[in-house]
């Protein structure tokens, strides 16, 4: 059995066709796309071709609405800081409690500079409280920035509706589309989303390249200045091989999009149902919400996520965890805490994220391997007795000081 890779929300395998498209731009076509001579010409043409491909995947009205960046983190920083600079009189930002750190940390920085940050909460299923979102919208808000799909749970937010509400209040809307693009249809021309960030390596492209969609007519201020590249909106020589790779990956993602719902979601559901029916005391995070078709996040109560990952890794299965111990932090993921997941479950969450390379036999292998691993760790746990959690009231129950 080859290693089973189920950590595709972290990064994906590069598609061989993407690699093939990139190679000439790492060898013979080394010219700078900004050069006027013949060496620069193939690079310049490839750059614009990639822009078309990404614009097509995003359903943008104009290719020129795509700005290539080094990653989605840069795209998100650009969007938020651009809005703050473009509307200096507006000193409020709306975001959510479950955003990626790329958004949260930029907001925290603005908060230290005196901005008011509205963080829309979620319920136990990861659904946003739209009432609080609506109430926060006002003419003091420079930007509302909301992720399309959550990276940990796959829960899809109603960003189309949220963008409309933002516009009704005269507020600019940015969307972190990293976990949505390539997995669900994204047709930006049909929405009121003003800006959207995405990343090449989340849909079988290379790492080190991302894009920011900026709707034509949106007031914009560049983050990186110093050159005329990307129409003056992102200075710095373009990562041509990476951009070509992202373009090729975008085209392939567009072609494979129907596969996501037809096959990958079926495999994901098979994995989810098998695990939850075979293993007691398991919870699906955000299980009642619309989710990206490739993601399932399951909490295994009374055991800790890193220990599960180590056992999975030992069986050559790669997944990830929102457990504190995998992150260097000491608390479970901010998403789990925001959802109010009890500690009995929050420390033991495992995210399985599939891709178009995931095969049925791999899912069967995980379904076969996982139950004994969970049983083994529960047998070690002081909170577990036989086949059920130990209650504090049980005689001799585990009751540490401050427990």
């Amino acid at each position: 059995m080859k290693p089973v890779y189920l950590d595709n929300n972290a990064t994906t395998r590069i598609d061989p066709m993407v690699l093939e498209a990139m190679m000439p731009f790492l060898s013979e076509h080394y010219g700078n796309p900004s050069s006027i001579h013949d060496f620069g010409r193939p690079a310049g043409i490839a750059l614009e071709r990639a822009r078309e491909q990404v614009a097509s995947l995003l359903g943008a009205r104009h290719d020129s609405e795509i700005i290539f960046t080094s990653c989605a983190t840069e795209a998100t920083s650009t969007a938020i800081l651009s809005a703050a600079e473009a509307y200096p009189e507006r000193r409020e930002i709306i975001t959510t409690v479950v955003e990626h750190p790329a958004t949260l940390q930029v907001c925290e920085r603005l908060e230290r500079q005196g901005y008011v940050i509205h963080r829309v909460p979620v319920n136990g299923e990861g659904a946003l409280d739209l009432g609080i979102y609506r109430a926060a919208l006002s003419d003091k808000v420079a930007l509302a920035t909301v992720m399309w799909a959550n990276n940990e749970t796959g829960v899809i937010n109603p960003v189309r509706e949220m963008a409309e509400l933002a516009h009704q209040a005269g507020v600019l809307f940015h969307c972190d589309g990293v976990q949505a693009v390539g997995k669900i249809p994204v047709s930006l021309a049909d929405t009121e989303i003003d800006m959207l960030s995405c990343s090449g390596h989340k849909f079988h492209g290379p790492k080190g390249v991302g894009a920011l969609y900026v709707r034509r007519g949106t007031r914009f201020r560049p983050l990186l200045r110093g050159g005329h590249q990307e129409r003056g909106r992102r200075a710095g020589t373009e990562n041509i091989a990476g951009i070509v790779g992202m373009g090729a990956a975008a085209e392939l993602a567009d072609i494979h999009l129907p596969l996501m719902a037809a096959q990958i979601a079926v495999l994901r559901d098979r994995l989810q149902h098998s695990i939850t029916s075979a293993i007691p005391y398991t919870l699906v995070m955000g299980g009642t919400q619309p989710r990206t078709p490739n993601t399932v996040n399951i909490a295994f109560e009374y055991i800790e996520g890193e220990a599960i990952l180590l056992l999975l890794n030992h069986c050559r299965i790669a997944a990830s965890s929102g457990s504190a111990c995998t992150s260097g932090s000491l608390e479970p993921s901010h998403v789990m805490r925001a959802m109010g997941i009890p500690y009995t479950a929050a420390h033991g969450t495992i995210r399985f994220s599939l891709s178009r390379y995931t095969r049925e036999k791999e899912i069967e292998y995980v379904i076969e391997q996982l139950p004994p691993m969970i049983a083994r760790l529960r047998a070690l746990s002081p909170y577990w007795q036989g086949d059920h959690p130990m209650m504090a009231a049980d005689a001799g129950g585990f009751v540490p000081p401050y427990g």
Partner: protein, 283 residues
Amino acid sequence: MWNYSEKVKDHFFHPRNAKVVEQANAIGDVGSISCGDALRLMLRVDPATEIIEEAGFQTFGCGSAIASSSALTELIIGRTLTEASQLTNKQIADYLDGLPPEKMHCSVMGQEALRAAIAQFRGEAPEADHEEGALICKCFGVDEGHIRRAVLQNNLTTLEDVINYTKAGGGCTSCHEKIEQTLGEILSQQPVVAKAAEKPRDENWLAVEEVIAGLRPHIQADGGDMRLLDVTEKQVTVSLSGSCSGCMMTDMTLAWLQQKLIERLGRFMHVVSDTATTSTSAV
């Protein structure tokens, strides 16, 4: 994934003494499910000789927590309670060929469970520790006595060290100020610090001190600080605190000082921070 030693992996995949000791007469419970780490240590102690005849554990936690629990039991079986009580968390970590700095609290948890078990055997109240000091970290239930022991036994000097070794301050962060204050008090009582201060301050030392004095206002403006610890012929050791502690820009701050020293002294001096030294040796 953490870079665990082969021995940590071995004790995680094949834990020794992972069992309930049926006739245990000394039990130490530490940690909690909210902390993400909990350990029940069970000992069967011969009341006449006080020799630990059998030890077992149940652990809720990560790989290093399970490995540390397993190592702990291996280290104490056959010892008297008095001998076992001398065991330090560092010995647990050393037995495992080291733990990542961020995971040192797992070894401390083992040591604390052993203390709790011995206290229970001797009929001492488990709360006795708290008489030594106040509860510092409410998120993880860490008191002053726990921090004091970890600081003294492991020569901790920064907030980051205390978080790595005790978990205190790793949650809501509201106790960071209290931890720094406690740490300052513990360190100020240490003869080691006085010894460092007594080191002869030659021309070289004074020149380095002058350069650092020039940089400190800029560092302090960003919420951090830098303290000179030692100067040898080729190396300068500093301690970073406040927002510099654990900052991703630490290397740049040290390189900045290095550059300023080259300009001032006309020769290269290698600059290291005490935390960087600790991390390297611990890994």
